[in-house]
Symmetry: C2
Subunit: 329 residues, 2 copies
């Protein structure tokens, strides 16, 4: 069920006050099992091997999501999933999240409750056992979410972008292109005659039920394959946030190698972003672990970061928000 319509009704954040709103949100979030949870000046999180990985990402209404296209639950899901994916890309197991959220005073409390539900659903589906150990609730003219995620390396070295070696196999886990196809369809069909994002148009066009649109709204990064890759000997890895080509270019430059694609990938698989799959390199001759499949090999560094059949592939991404005009649909 899409909670969008129910979420936009009822009492507003400004009516209830911060403490009452927090109380209604916190109980919906996954608790996890921190050493000390919310309620003090800090949470305390275990770091069994004496280190932790950390990443932070901010999602802003307008450039990063539109209420016309995503429900509050979708936004909560995506905020959690994208950060968990960065933890997985180091080969780490997610160990906790903190979430800072700023909402306009007239935001219905039910929107924040649905947002929290989305966080819980994503954590339960993608990184069960992980929890939200702390947070902050503020007021802003612009709905803004900032998530910081932590992970445990289980005693292993982190899998960096810089570790690919000549002769390694290039492999990917997770979908390629679905999220970009979904966003492309929303930009094409989920708009009113003036080109503004429109929930009515999204529903009328059928885009609302498109599985690709579902992936744009709720990416399903293969979180478990991060530590699986770490245990399985991955030499380099990163999260596919901006598209295979641009992210492969980053890995190639960090490792001072050229990546040679063997797989037949279409344009959207190459250049579409927001799938949050994992791109990794493994030593040749070992079985690829988990959901990883071979798409190429690591070559000595040549003139290009990325080639296919000897032909350079542009390491550019695909950013439909590049021309964002500040509209807030």
């Amino acid at each position: 069920m899409d909670a969008t319509d129910e979420a936009w009704a009822g009492p507003r954040v400004g009516d209830l006050g911060e403490l009452a709103v927090l109380d209604r949100i916190v109980r919906r979030l996954p608790a996890g099992s921190p050493v000390v949870g919310p309620g003090d000046d800090c949470a305390v999180v275990a770091a069994p091997d004496g280190r932790f990985v950390v990443t932070t990402d901010m999602m802003v209404h307008g450039p990063d999501f539109r209420w016309a296209w995503s429900s509050p639950e979708d936004v909560g899901w995506k905020a959690a999933a994208t950060n968990l994916s960065d933890v997985a890309a180091m080969g780490a197991v997610p160990s906790g999240l903190v979430i800072a959220l700023a909402a306009p005073q007239d935001t219905p409390v039910a929107v924040l409750e649905s947002f929290a539900d989305g966080v819980r659903l994503a954590v339960d589906a993608l990184a069960p056992g992980c929890g939200v150990v702390g947070g902050d609730l503020s007021t802003s003219a612009t709905f803004t979410v900032s998530v910081t995620a932590f992970g445990d390396l289980e005693g292993r070295s982190p899998v960096l972008r810089s570790g690919a070696r000549v002769g390694d196999v290039l492999a990917v886990s997770g979908e390629l292109g679905a999220a970009a196809r979904g966003l492309s369809r929303l930009f094409r069909e989920g708009v009113d005659p003036d080109g503004e994002p429109s929930r009515a148009a999204t529903i009328a066009s059928g885009a609302d039920l498109d599985p690709d649109v579902a992936r744009q709204r709720r990416p399903r990064p293969p979180i478990a394959d991060g530590p699986v890759a770490g245990r399985g000997g991955a030499t380099a890895m990163l999260d596919l946030s901006d598209g295979l080509a641009i992210d492969a270019g980053r890995l190639a430059r960090a490792s001072r190698v050229t990546l040679s694609l063997e797989a037949d990938l279409d344009e959207v698989a190459l250049h579409g972003g927001e799938d949050h799959g994992l791109l990794a390199t493994f030593p040749a001759g070992i079985p690829l672990p988990g959901g990883f499949r071979r798409i190429g090999v690591v070559r000595e560094r040549g003139a290009s970061d990325l080639v296919r059949g000897g032909v350079p592939v542009a390491t550019t991404g695909w950013d439909p928000y590049a021309d964002w005009d500040g509209a807030a649909g």
Copy 2:
């Protein structure tokens, strides 16, 4: 020197693009000494005793600061200082920060550079050796900063709000009331005839040079006294963010005690917020460590959280932003 005027000139964020802007910011931030620094999907931070403390706080233009009253350097300082203070309040030594920042496209790059300078100055002054290990840069209609800070407990138990025992001494470290007096003066004198925040009025009134205004802009929480209190046997502690009375009420309720004030504190010291001093309890009969001074004792829980001379003290704060109308001066 106040960098405000210089900071608001020159090329804009939208002109340079994210990577060029990031490059100019990152070099100004304190690096610290993480296991793995910025540039990969995550940073890796040491947690020598197998745990870390974590806190997050968002600062939003409008409700939390105004450009008419604070320079970008002030905002960077305050964003770092307030989060470091929460780490200290657990008895921990700050071990790292991550910062997510969203700015309007027409924000001068120099504003972000000055913001980074403010972060560096605060870290150097308050928690030398700590660094910014990661971050995120986004676009938003509303200038927004989200800081997450980490700390190391050095093998000790965290000092929680709930540990005060009857007979303990109540003590405080840091200033009381200065930040609130400064903000009060800005609201009174740093405004134009319509009551809107005004940089010209702030300068013309002399408020710009008021040491209390300096404390509002750049709080100096006694960060080092956090771990000093932890080592010195503190039984409970918290950060004075919302004012002594309201924060003392929190400690009293968490510990199920009544706090009895002995010191003669004026109204602004009791109810003014944003000083970010430390309120702690210590066993009777031991010397108070660091900058802590005795202001009362812990009594058995009675009808009130906080009393003075047997008379209840309202555990309410003082929030001049409560009626914030969305103005963005």
